[in-house]
């Protein structure tokens, strides 16, 4: 019996993307600038199909860009006039998002739709289709499996693709995914053998993730070490207080808001900000996190203690970017695994 899933040969995936390009702005993993990022597809190059890792710039940048105009304004005799920037009406299709990064978007959704809605993030999110592609390799920094995420499975995407050799198995996860499949040409029905291959591929991917984070009682262990200054000071010592780990974290959402002005015209921007920077919390009279260990502690606690308290989910997906891209190899898994059991 045929499964309800579809498949497509890797050779024809370019055609499929071309078809989707009629309807969407298609983004794919690109290393053209020397930095892997989700970039607008050029309509030709499909080399990213053979590159099964996550990007340096996380896909969150497609929804919460490094900088974004919030509105612009002009001043004339009648006073100020505030206008929203023109919106890109094209729907985004993100092809090749990894399960860790897709989960991260689901986490960001919580923050940006909690209490007040964030129109900039949510309008882009509502207008996007996520096509996940399962990993077949893992970096030695990856630890998604410790956080209950499989490198080749996701429920946070619309379509999920699994590498089964020369083909991808395509699973529709959401209604939007099902509709997209039903109007896409060139897809074949998957058979039982394909499903078996997909299962093996997923299992193999799972085994490739070797880094382990000890999540047993992690909230309690953290709470017990909240005031363990010696520990935090020691592990914070080598941190440079740069923004790499937070800017490139797929679940970090902190931002700054700043105005720009040229003559009577100006605009307000938001841009990524980081709890690693001392100025982040600086007030005229005092700064609650002027010491480095407090900032390092904040990052760890926000992800593993505070965010779970608010939203019942860990704000980390084990993508490993913060470990891999840190200029001094500051490793959050070590920081957590080495938490003293008794203080």
């Amino acid at each position: 019996m045929a499964s309800s899933n579809k498949k497509i040969s890797k050779r024809d995936t370019g055609k499929l993307l071309n078809e989707w390009s009629q309807e969407f702005a298609v983004f794919v993993p690109s290393r053209e600038t020397g930095v892997a990022t989700m970039a607008k597809w050029d309509g030709k190059d499909t080399s990213f199909l053979d590159w099964h890792r996550n990007t340096v710039i996380p896909p969150k940048a497609n929804f919460l860009p490094a900088m974004e105009e919030m509105f612009n304004f002009q001043r004339d005799k009648e006073g100020y006039h505030i206008e929203l920037p023109p919106q890109d009406k094209h729907k985004q299709l993100i092809f090749g998002i990894r399960p860790c990064d897709a989960k991260a978007l689901a986490i960001l959704d919580m923050t940006f739709s909690d209490s007040y809605q964030d129109p900039y993030y949510l309008s882009k999110r509502k207008n996007a289709v996520l096509v996940g592609v399962g990993c077949t390799k893992a970096y030695d920094s990856c630890f998604c499996t410790s956080l209950g995420i499989s490198p080749a499975e996701s429920t946070d995407v619309d379509l999920m693709l699994t590498d089964i050799g020369d083909e991808f198995l395509i699973e529709a996860i959401t209604e939007a995914g099902k509709k997209l499949i039903s109007r896409s040409r060139g897809l074949a029905e998957a058979n039982e053998a394909d499903e078996t291959r997909a299962k093996a591929s997923k299992e193999a991917a799972y085994q490739k993730v070797t880094r382990q984070l000890d999540t047993d009682n992690i909230k309690q262990r953290l709470l017990a070490n909240l005031e363990n200054k010696d520990y935090w000071e020691k592990i914070a010592a080598k941190c440079l207080s740069c923004g790499v780990c937070t800017f490139l974290c797929p679940t970090c959402y902190c931002f700054d808001i700043n105005d720009e002005l040229v003559k009577q015209q100006g605009a307000r921007f938001r841009s990524w900000d980081s709890c690693a920077f001392p100025v982040y919390t600086e007030m005229p009279m005092e700064n609650p996190r002027v010491e480095k260990w407090r900032r390092v502690r904040q990052r760890v606690y926000h992800k593993y203690e505070f965010y779970p308290m608010s939203f019942d989910v860990t704000a980390c997906t084990g993508c490993g970017r913060c470990i891999r891209l840190c200029p001094v190899n500051w490793d959050i898994t070590q920081a957590l695994n080495n938490l003293p059991a008794k203080v």
């Binding site: 919030m70 509105f71 304004f73 001043r75 006073g79 100020y80 505030i82 929203l84 923050t111 940006f112 909690d114 209490s115 007040y116 809605q117 964030d118 129109p119 900039y120 005031e227 959402y253 902190c254 931002f255 700054d256 808001i257 700043n258 105005d259 720009e260 002005l261 100006g266 307000r268 938001r270 900000d273 709890c275 982040y280 919390t281 600086e282 007030m283 005229p284 009279m285 005092e286 609650p288 996190r289 407090r294 904040q298 606690y301 926000h302 203690e305 505070f306 965010y307 308290m309 608010s310």
Partner: protein, 290 residues
Amino acid sequence: MTITDISHRRKFLAQGNVYLPHIVIIEKIIDETPGVRTFHFNFKDEKLREEFSFESGQFGEYSVLGIGEAPFCISSSPTRRDHLEFALQRVGKVTNALHRLGVGAEIGFRGPYGNGVPLDLLQGKNLVFVGGGIGLAPLRSLIWNVIDNRDKYENIDIIYGARSPSDLCFKYDLDAWNKDKAVNMVTTVDKGDENWTGKVGFVPQVLEQAAPSAQNAVAIVCGPPIMIRFTFPVLEKLGFTPEQMITTLEKRMKCGIGKCGRCNIGNLYVCRDGPVFSYAQIKGFISKEY
């Protein structure tokens, strides 16, 4: 009824694209102290002028367009709605720019944000207001609110201090409350001058001397962090439980709506879950992080 968690009381009154400021016009400027000014303002849009509502303790984000945005509480009372007020000290880029503005200038305003003071829980109670410096701004909104509904509350004690006589804010209010027989008002300064005949001493000490009863009372504390830190132990000594102490906190903020991340105390965002907290809510974090 006790006041433990007042964060869930937060109201989301602002609507639409919450990041877009409304244009408001400065109607009056009062020099409070050499570095502090009060601005009276009103919405440019007639409809908003009518419809805008807020609660004591809530704050807004005020912007000088092209320079930037900063949060300040609404210092006027919702019971006196012909205009709105906020007060600020010159300390940085935005506050400097605001201080350069004159009457008639247009600024951006968005809000109201935050939870406000749980007035219903204060009804029928003795209220002890403890304020320091410009920390009187949020208290003042509440104090006028309470005075305008005087019969709903029991005793009102106000203990207010500043560094020096010239640093006392809202002197016209202090005069009015001093004259009001239904209010017990104590004003103090850290250091007097030749004309000062009132009390001299830090707010926590003066509070201890005044020793308001904790019986059926709620203390509302607002001032510089150092004052807040030293006031809680005094209140505890006087018999106040953490559930009987309310404070409004100040942190660096940008978005005002719980997104941009920087104003957290533990898992609470001061902008989203506060700025009004019961001491019971924050005492676990306050000693270290605040």
